[in-house]
Symmetry: C2
Subunit: 339 residues, 2 copies
DNA sequence: ATTTTAATTGCAAGCGATTGCATAAATTTT
DNA sequence: AAAATTTATGCAATCGCTTGCAATTAAAAT
């Protein structure tokens, strides 16, 4: 493995000159810079990561924090997409990423503690956002900068984040059904404590209100088929003429679809569905599911860009909103309705 | 951030003594060791990651290589599960993990090149295995140790790996159907070039052969509903009396199920299905899908354990087989058949 | 032609830890 | 009680790189 001294020797200069030349310092003359760069290339030189970080006291690795392990979360391809985005821009900027995981909140915090204590993490990116997150508390306590993907709950004005405009996405999805002639539209959610869900509901309500249509909410997880059937039976009793559903995510939409399709009464009616996330489920459904894409990879990229920009501590925080987009498939059917 | 000198000063000893004490060197007396450890705890000391690695010239981070980006791959929750397993045992051993990704083979190789050149990666873990992998070539060239998850293609005798016994898994899945009275069983696959698939087929064939039953293979991706219907029509013409399917993975099983369920002719017959991977799809199906679980997290853990063990270069390689397990749900129906 | 100023380069210290070797203290041995 | 060991500790060099400052050289000004 070539060191800076090897490069220096080969270029016939001192190590310090070589170092400066490699960094494009203005105090090095063009000819020597060229000599050094050439030598470096010939030796396949790359500065030793640890030595460099030690000398500059400026670490170059980004800690990516996954939410506490939970099967549901880990089977969500979202995270990997975000990671891919982060890694993409990090490696373009010569930074590394390292993961923080834990099977419990305590373990995760502990792991983060040692990462901080070892002092080689420049910044953190949190792939999630939740209320009273001990990780956030920890990071604030040690005064470590971080970016969250999602809407921050704590220190809202002091934390940078990147997120979708979920309210708008909710409105757009609903409007899409309205545009296709639907008037009796139900919003299906599974967990009100998640801000993504409540935001999308808000957006749905806004769209409905604008058209003076009543909001119809349904909270149901479809944990199993029977439970789903029961819930829907009850639901249709109260709202017999619903024609469209906005489901808070594709998985829920797919579950709903399964239930609707396997019931002799319901399957003859042609319901329209729209989901969110444009996940793999949308292609698995039959008919394939129209869905609002939210581009997790972009979220990751933007988060990484913020981190890479390396703002001064006193600068205002950054918030980036990644646009969404409706991906049209075959689960929304137009209905002729009176204006 | 406390340094070893701070600890030393507080304990009233020299830095070298402090360092040795922290490492439990036998040349340090009990009382001083205690003093040092106490001081370290009080100062919340953790050795600086970069300094330590620089001094010992022994890096402590593991590079985790994801396959080249490809939507299909990134939407597969498998990888994240493996990563979780890896991270789990790495952090228990005080090691870090860092990810290598790339949107093209070239980019991935390049990223790995710089990681190697920067000299701070101890070992790599490849989360995949494929023929003529340029990454493997690279790692061999630089003589960097690595472990692959899956069956190695190159340098088979010189590389450690962890994998499932996919042949056996194929046999077991098939046998499960046979035990439920099925005799006309079809194996459904999507990509013969993948060793997982060909191995599972082999296992299937072994089980069938043992019972003197003929193998019935069907290669179909179900890219869309119509294509699926066509393929199945043709298939059933040739094999009208098939009652059970072994699908090479859950997603394919789910797609098959969708097609079967949405056709008036087929839906009245009660086919039995078994899939692989026990993925989230198995719970989404209706009826829920019986599936062979393969425990990706365990795969990750075992891979990390091999890496952590830090075998001498001349030692024999390690191969770990992670057991699989059939998770019974509701997609396999017994049929009364004559012995 | 001499002095000033500007442009380059190298010396050496330091980042925070580890470790071979010398030294000091404690313990045995004679 | 002096010498020989054994046991504990500290000094100083080192890992590879960066950077303040002094030193050298070249260019410009007088």
């Amino acid at each position: 493995m070539a060191t800076i001294k090897d490069v220096a020797k080969r270029a016939g200069v001192s190590a310090s000159t070589a170092s400066r030349a490699m960094h494009g310092s203005s105090m090095i003359s063009k000819p020597t810079r060229d000599k050094v760069v050439k030598a470096a290339r010939e030796l396949n030189y790359a500065p030793d990561f640890n030595a460099q970080n030690l000398a500059t006291k400026a670490s170059n690795t980004i800690g990516v924090v996954l939410p506490v392990d939970h099967h549901e979360i880990f089977s969500n391809p979202f995270f990997l997409e975000m990671i891919r985005g982060i890694n993409q821009v990090c490696s373009q900027n010569g930074a590394m990423t390292t993961l923080a995981t834990g099977i419990s909140s305590e373990e995760l915090v502990h792991n983060i503690d040692v990462m901080i204590a070892q002092g080689h993490i420049r910044n953190f990116i949190l792939l999630y956002s939740e209320k009273n997150d001990p990780v956030v508390t920890r990071l604030n306590h040690f005064d470590v900068q971080y970016v969250v993907i999602g809407k921050p709950y704590q220190e809202v004005n002091r934390t940078s984040y990147v997120d979708n405009d979920n309210i708008q996405a909710g409105t757009d999805a609903t409007q899409y059904l309205i545009d296709h002639g639907h008037r009796k539209i139900c919003f299906l959610y599974s967990d009100l404590t998640k801000m993504v869900q409540s935001d999308r509901i808000l957006g749905y309500q806004r769209a409905m209100m604008q058209k003076q249509l009543p909001s119809i909410l349904l909270g149901e997880r479809f944990e199993n088929h029977a439970a789903g059937v029961t819930a829907l039976k009850k639901f249709f009793k109260a709202h017999p003429d619903v024609t469209g559903f906005v489901a808070v995510d594709d998985m829920l939409a797919l579950k709903l679809q399964q239930v609707l399709h396997n019931d002799p009464d319901w399957k003859v009616r042609q319901f329209s569905l729209i989901g969110f996330n444009n996940s793999i489920f949308s292609d698995l459904a039959h008919p394939t599911l129209t869905s609002v894409a939210v581009f997790p990879q972009r979220l990751g990229e933007e988060a990484a860009k913020i981190v890479m920009a390396d703002h001064p501590a006193d600068e205002l925080t950054t918030a980036v909103i990644v646009p969404h987009q409706i991906i049209e498939r075959h689960s929304v059917h137009p209905i002729a309705s009176l204006k």
